[in-house]
Symmetry: C2
């Protein structure tokens, strides 16, 4: 291990990568807020017990967990839902229900690195708390679809596969399978699409045949029909598909579950979620009981899909390039004018413009080059013309001389009217 | 330890707290970008060696460090500078110098909790890499001041205390103190303001008298004079004060150092930074040598100061309240109209409006109450008037009936002209 690299599975975000990450965050935030969701954030470090207590084993084996200097068993959060359940159970009385909450943060898993799967990633989490009605499930799936649409992705690029855990618990109940085996069997069904049929069959025993038959027939339920109907009313039916093979690995789901995939089947799931109506009660030892549902969308697979689809990739590149531009580059042609230039730079920045300049004496041609590279709309030249300042519109190459006392007004006029900045 | 609370020293951000945090982040980002800084982000988990190798002992004793499942010694980052030095050493050839980089992220220290000091906090880090000239120090201090000014804070509320480590290394050299003792002595001088004079005197031995005399006289150097001159040219001289008692605890500083305090002396330092010209070379074992300087500003003490100063607190409250508003609340007065309403909700959200509605049948009066509470500018009522929609301007109480086919245009006109939204 060299000190010059980040840890395996961890990323540094150099400016261009950071701009792309921020592009994703900004759109996540924007769409969640269109849906009336409000932002919150939990602690990134939690008692390990929070995950041991109620999550599936899949997660617990892959925690970044350790004993802190106060002898506490703690873990970097692998997911947000247990934290949300904890926070809601502690604070629910402060808020009218239903809560519509979203959060953008970093999560950690110690696992083998593979494509689309690092040891850290960022997630958008959107949750609705305190609403039993299927309308909430529809609202949540619609939000998940619209988040993807805002990146320029269409129903040709991705699909939400939707199922209902109650479909399977009904199936197991009918066959008199004891409830304590349901979690295990649901996880086997969940993995059936990703492992050889023989292996799944062996695990399922005499349930293998009916399970495979049901997976093959696709499954159907009145609740799933109503869900699709609700999405159709919003014009989103083309984005979804019933697929009872979707069960989700986590033990806490209780109802509708869904996963979002690229249509080409090239990547891992882009998002996933569902109802977890019992989790808040479980974590609060019954003190607070509220129905809940939510989804999480990671940045890694989403970035891969955006890069794969030209329309989405170009929209990102354009937004990132435009966002990185400065407004004004100040060219200091005579060092005698540096103090005058700096006084005006301060005034321009105070008014909100992004302004850069050379910190040391630099040839004028190189300063103009720096201005172009920074994407400045205007260059202001401080030199022999003083007390006038030469103002150059960089895209059009037009120049004019403005008295330095009138400069701020002149710049304001420029940015209010003509420019693309 | 109850599972219902975050770990000691860690925060959850409920929606209002999160909005305040985002208010701070947005202003940090905005001012850094006015100065031509570009955003980046490093890994939050690093090899412990990165901190052991070159930082002062003060930090290493307080790390959240552990052995991961791959037998790596790792630590949650306590500060960004070693990561920055690592990233710059690995990637500097990709960028023209000087780099002006900023970052907003979370940092961790295992230490006794006290006012303004948790076990996690968020920091703005701003660094300039590859510029030896004092102009960079001036630019950095000016940025630090302007970040505070953007919160409505003035020279009456805070002050930047500035010193120069070279002032003290010169002092020690003149007195023939061997260089290997300098770090230790600088840390004693750094702490002298926070511990009894006797204790400092004992540690300093025969250096006590000249050190106290220098601290008392205030110290002076040509470099510090030039620094103040540069800030005066920008109109920022009233925000700074030379104070050679400022040394900074970290071992890696080499030149100008500064700390930002509230004028009333009520809080811990709000920000601190300085030059660390040797750190990149040290961390890269000499492979890359670049002068560098930077500062970090934490969110915890800054929040305390904003809450202390009425002007700043009110500006924050106003921005947070306005930011949380939705644009439109859709009132569903007849359940028969729900599907029609949802179709238009989808269209409105597609156009970027923040829209909310009741997910289940709800009394009309309660829906209007929800609209008011969410700060909506418009309510759209779907009921007996269909195919017309009743449009209510909530602040003015004006109502009109609009055919549902003309609704989107009508809403667009409303938000382009009259509203405060």
């Amino acid at each position: 291990m060299t000190l010059m690299q980040p840890l395996p599975g961890f990323r540094d975000f150099l400016p261009e990568d950071c701009a792309k990450r921020n592009y994703i965050f900004a759109r996540w935030r924007r769409v969640a807020r269109r849906y009336g969701f409000v932002e919150w954030e939990g602690s990134p470090l939690e008692p390990t017990e929070l995950y041991k207590k109620k999550s599936g084993d899949e997660i617990v084996g892959q925690l970044f967990n350790f004993t802190d200097k106060g002898e506490r068993e703690v873990a970097l959060r692998p997911e947000l839902t247990p934290t949300l359940a904890r926070v809601v159970a502690a604070h629910e009385r402060e808020f009218k229900k239903p809560l519509k909450w979203f959060s953008i943060g970093q999560f950690f898993r110690y696992e083998k690195q593979q494509r689309g799967r690092l040891r850290e990633h960022f997630q958008l989490n959107c949750d609705i708390i305190g609403e039993n009605d299927l309308a909430a499930d529809i609202e949540l799936v619609a939000l998940c679809i619209d988040v993807l649409r805002t990146f320029g992705l269409t129903e040709k690029d991705f699909v939400v596969r939707i199922s209902d855990r109650e479909f399977w618990t009904g199936f197991l109940r009918e066959r008199n399978v004891p409830a304590e085996r349901w979690d295990e069997l649901l996880q086997i069904i969940d993995r059936s699409g990703r492992e050889p049929r023989d292996k799944t069959a062996e695990k399922l025993g005499k349930l293998a045949e009916p399970v495979f038959a049901t997976l093959h027939s696709g499954g159907k339920s009145e609740k799933l029909d109503r869900l699709i109907g609700g999405l159709r009313a919003r014009g989103l039916a083309d984005f979804v598909q019933i697929d009872v093979g979707i069960v989700r690995g986590l033990a806490y789901y209780t109802g509708i579950v869904f996963e979002l995939f690229d249509r080409a089947g090239k990547f891992r799931a882009i998002a996933g979620g569902g109802r977890y109506d019992n989790l808040i009660a479980q974590l609060s030892d019954g003190a607070v009981s509220l129905p809940a549902l939510g989804f999480a969308m990671g940045d890694v697979v989403l970035s891969e899909l955006i890069n794969e689809i030209p329309r989405a990739r170009e929209a990102m590149q354009k937004a990132v390039a435009s966002d990185r531009k400065i407004d004004i580059y100040v060219v200091i042609a005579k060092e005698e004018r540096r103090a005058d230039a700096l006084a005006q730079i301060q005034q321009l920045r105070d008014r909100g413009y992004r302004v850069d300049y050379p910190m040391t004496p630099t040839k004028v041609a190189r300063q103009f080059q720096a201005a172009e590279e920074a994407g400045a709309a205007l260059a202001l030249l401080y030199g022999d013309e003083w007390p006038q300042v030469k103002v150059k519109n960089l895209p059009t190459r037009e120049e004019s001389l403005i008295d330095h006392g009138a400069l701020l007004d002149s710049v304001a006029k420029f940015f209010n009217v003509g420019s693309s900045a």
